[in-house]
Symmetry: D2
Subunit: 351 residues, 4 copies
């Protein structure tokens, strides 16, 4: 089944495994005319790279994005943009010991059950490395959105039970034991106009939640007050409307900027909860492909916490989702459609 | 934008407003040969109906489902099944006072921003009544799944901050004040085989989360340990594999039956968090369509808690999602495809 | 598999069999604000109805279209429009004799091979009656297009080998023998702006051809000069561009208004070729469901030529296809997107 | 709009322009376990390459296909297969003269009208070179189909008005004048089982026609007798069913192997009609981007006839379409679904 594409109008298809020659994304449906160079990818790709610090692996990829199509004279042409990222630092031998066993917390067993066999090198398609392609696509989405006045702020807010700013010692201890920690990422989108999203199955929050859950290791998503809204009362949770300089606004934002699946113009507030990195150095019980019980301790280079490098992936998926909803929304009103097409009476010379 | 369909192979399209003559669903892609009668819909439709008790509105619809197509001689034919539910108990005058104002916590303002105007009667398309069509479709999905040994157990586990079993007094007090409460629904799917779901964008948990968030008022979703996994460590959160009578199993199920987007064969465990009913009798600040600040108190018949009637909607959406993933998964392996098609050498008489 | 939906943004789902209580369509993604009443459907639905003349069956349905949702105060709301057409004149006993045999030229055998059994009454889902739902959806598409200055002219141009105007005697003779004739329908769309359609798989002509071939009995489609272009030379077939009052035009239109999958602003010219009605009164060889060879002569009421009633179906499918392409095309350029969204700096009061 | 993907389960996304560094395809949804090497692509890619003879351009690309993902230890893994083909022989200066004019018979004007500007080098995305990526994807589809006993035979049958075998002199004369000719390609698929395709919008012939029309320069498609069926009578056109060794067969095949959108088990017979190559050396009238009338004569290397190199593209698109329909069809019957999933009672060790 073709599950590697996301979006309807702005459509991203990713491909590639951790240990193949490269991975990449095809971005179809990007509006024509966006200035785009290979340097544009550097800032976000760098946010996803390991920083060599406490929270990340020693594996280091340059993650240079090459544009193979869809850009001409520095601007997007409206045709598919093919983005390529070479794998330069994979060491296959790191993974040879896990070919025959099912790593706890990983998809190995599921892959075998589904496909009959799997590319066991570094998790194959399930590797966190696949998200490099999403961030590359996210760069394009964020550039389009920025031109519409929409911006993002995304941060790790918690590691395990500890606020991020105070989490150093907590992570150091776990890491020294060969253990790992969960994490929580907060993503806020500012400037999304009111009226984006659909009322039923394609609610903006439904699409955003699906997008965030499509990132490996996400186990929970909140929109606005999220889980806390379920502990609240209507009188406390409703955001009262106010009028301000001719605009409808709300003073509070418990809803996280989405009501009934449609944006309100307020900040869109999302939280993604990541489980601890499943690859740990501690010894765990498991079974081999042949059904023999055994023990395993995962070697290789693994981040002890997922959130810090995944934050930009959360932001990228949010940007792709919001842009797709924006583009789909242009035909919601007949007067908009008529304003767009009705002005001409036939083929005209392009300006 | 066409946001009223859900699913790829087993595809559900809902239509209808709270105050039109009827609402319904078209279920396309249901396998042929499923026994189906109009009586099959009664049990689940009844779980969604108000019970006249503490937690639900006095509005009462019989919610009889009529089958208009796709069933012949008591079995589905593989062609679209059109399901119709008449609206018999709507009282439009209840809603006339809200035509010109934006109800806090509702999509009214978003609808106007998106479409330029809206059907203001009872929330129109955003009414909880739309979910009756989803439950009707869910009945069919659950029947197919039951024939494959897959079953569901779904319960309200919490109202506000109180466990459901002890929540009577809490709800009574809020209701008497004209206020409302949030709630939490737990849904467990049993018997889903290992290997269902895709590794990247169409992860089984991503699709389930999107499905649950597409239900109005859901503000958070957990899979397995959900948010708590973000507080845990890898050694505590990983589910060790064991071998049991030739099967791969896990003793714990922190993952909620899904790893890397693919089912493990364990119970699939989902939690949906509902905000409090936004329609409350207490006076709230808001603005009119013309931007004039005003006060409003919502009249009409509204449940003080959403979870009790929405639990079956959660289950229906989960069933539709899992069935669609199951049907899509049949072509994952070449040997399965060859086993399916390769056995014949040409057109044969059907058995 | 869910094959009963068509379109991406303007999405039509049809349901219903010839001999069920009703059939219908759900039209999702229609822009909000289109004036629509049940009377709007009458002219096109009447073009599809048998006229009692030489070329059509005696079966007569009123084909009144009921609007069940998506319209409020006389205008579309942007939510799904559910259209219902009751079956009032089916006589099931007419078809009982064919339950056990495979009618030549019909899908009976294919249905059994695919689904294991079938609704044999009047062709079930394969009945020409299914197209009533398409025409109902086409009415909405044509209304939207008309508001953009786009109109259609569709005619039967040939019955068998005879120009339509002179075909009376030809049809009379075939009909008296219990035989049937093929036919050719010409459909011209005027006023479609230049720039509609995509360059690769979703070429406008590819989508139109698929749409026309989805009408039962269509065996060939031409765009522009069609098959004759394959007999021509580049110098004769190319349409030279000219400038006229500031517009790019062509004097000839061999291309039929589409080049490289994108509209040129010229008339879009389509031809659909229908096979003869397969239901004929003459005796034919066939087999039973049990594989026994036998003879059959089809009783019941059948048009001797398909084109005259199907012309409006061709037009409806063309309209649905063109409208969907128009709506998808609104986001092709960044300056258009920015013009649409960029003008506002936050949520504003709708006008 | 994302128009560069094709198919639902077996989904092909192409990218790339004539004059970028490379072009390619991502094939998602290919069943796992198919043996696949880079050498497998050579035969079909060679059929698409210019042979240096009378009918093709002197431009020569090696068209070596590189596999970047989705294959492990020589077999497909079920994850996306990324295929890359480098552009090695493009000479941009050949095209500089056409940057500012609209070539007759090409999409230049449409691109400008749609996107505001275009990659004018060699037609950009509209170049016939894009089809190299389709053939690469077609190789995979044909390999899967071959394992199911399905094969193709595809030939150019006519150049202009002349049968292909006798067309040498005709082409030579046109070419020497700087003119070009139309052509007709016949494609036959053998071994497709009965029961493939859907009854309504996704009729197998509708999808095949759309697939063939998505190839640039196709202006007409026939299925079976095609246009000639419209000149025939029911008694002559119906294919009588017969029983033969326990199978339902037909002696004639006017229908081309598809009835009511569903395959009959007979050969599937398709004809694609190509217009003459629009790039001709003869002088033609046209206009510049600024609306000034002018003359142009196309320089550069262009095939004088499209059919000979496009035949394998027709076959590839047919193969992709049929495979996707086959995979979608696996869930048509409940007993098939139950047979597939019902046999297990929980997660089992993969074999």
């Amino acid at each position: 089944m073709s599950g590697s594409s996301f979006g309807t109008i702005f459509r991203v298809t990713t491909w590639g495994e951790s240990h193949g020659p490269a991975l990449g994304a095809v971005v179809d449906g990007c509006p024509a005319g966006l200035p785009l160079t290979e340097d544009d990818f550097t800032p976000l790709m760098n946010r996803r790279r390991p920083d060599g610090g406490l929270m990340s692996t020693a594996r280091s990829e340059e993650d240079r994005v090459e544009i193979l199509s869809g850009v001409f004279e520095g601007r997007t042409t409206g045709t598919p943009i093919s983005l390529l990222i070479r794998n330069t630092d994979h060491i296959s031998s790191d993974y040879s010991s896990i070919a025959g066993i099912y790593r706890p917390g990983h998809a190995d067993f599921g892959f075998d059950a589904k496909y009959g066999f799997r590319d066991y090198r570094g998790g194959g398609r399930s590797s966190g490395r696949e998200t490099a392609a999403r961030v590359a696509a996210g760069v394009i989405a964020e550039k389009v959105l920025a031109s519409l006045g929409i911006s993002f702020e995304t941060n790790v807010v918690r590691i395990g039970d500890v606020p991020f700013a105070e989490s150093g010692e907590y992570v150091r201890k776990l890491r020294s034991k060969g253990d790992s920690a969960g994490s929580e990422v907060l993503c806020v989108a500012r400037g999304v106009p009111a009226g984006i999203g659909d009322p039923v199955f394609r609610k903006l929050d439904a699409e955003l939640a699906g997008a965030l859950f499509s990132i490996g290791a996400v186990k929970a998503v909140d929109v606005g007050d999220g889980r806390l809204a379920a502990r609240s009362t209507g009188s406390a949770n409703n955001d009262a409307f106010r009028a301000e300089s001719g605009r409808v606004v709300t003073r509070t934002n418990h809803s996280g900027g989405i009501l009934g699946g449609i944006s309100t113009g307020n900040d869109i507030v999302l939280r993604a909860y990541f489980k601890p990195t499943p690859s740990i150095g501690l010894t765990q019980d498991t079974v081999t492909r042949d059904g023999v019980e055994c023990e395993t301790a995962i070697r290789g280079r693994h981040d002890p916490v997922i959130g810090p490098r995944a934050a930009v992936v959360v932001e990228s998926m949010a940007a792709i989702t919001i842009l797709d909803a924006l583009l789909r929304g242009m035909s919601a009103r007949l007067d908009s459609v008529a304003g767009f097409y009705g002005r001409e009476e036939g083929p005209v010379l392009p300006d």
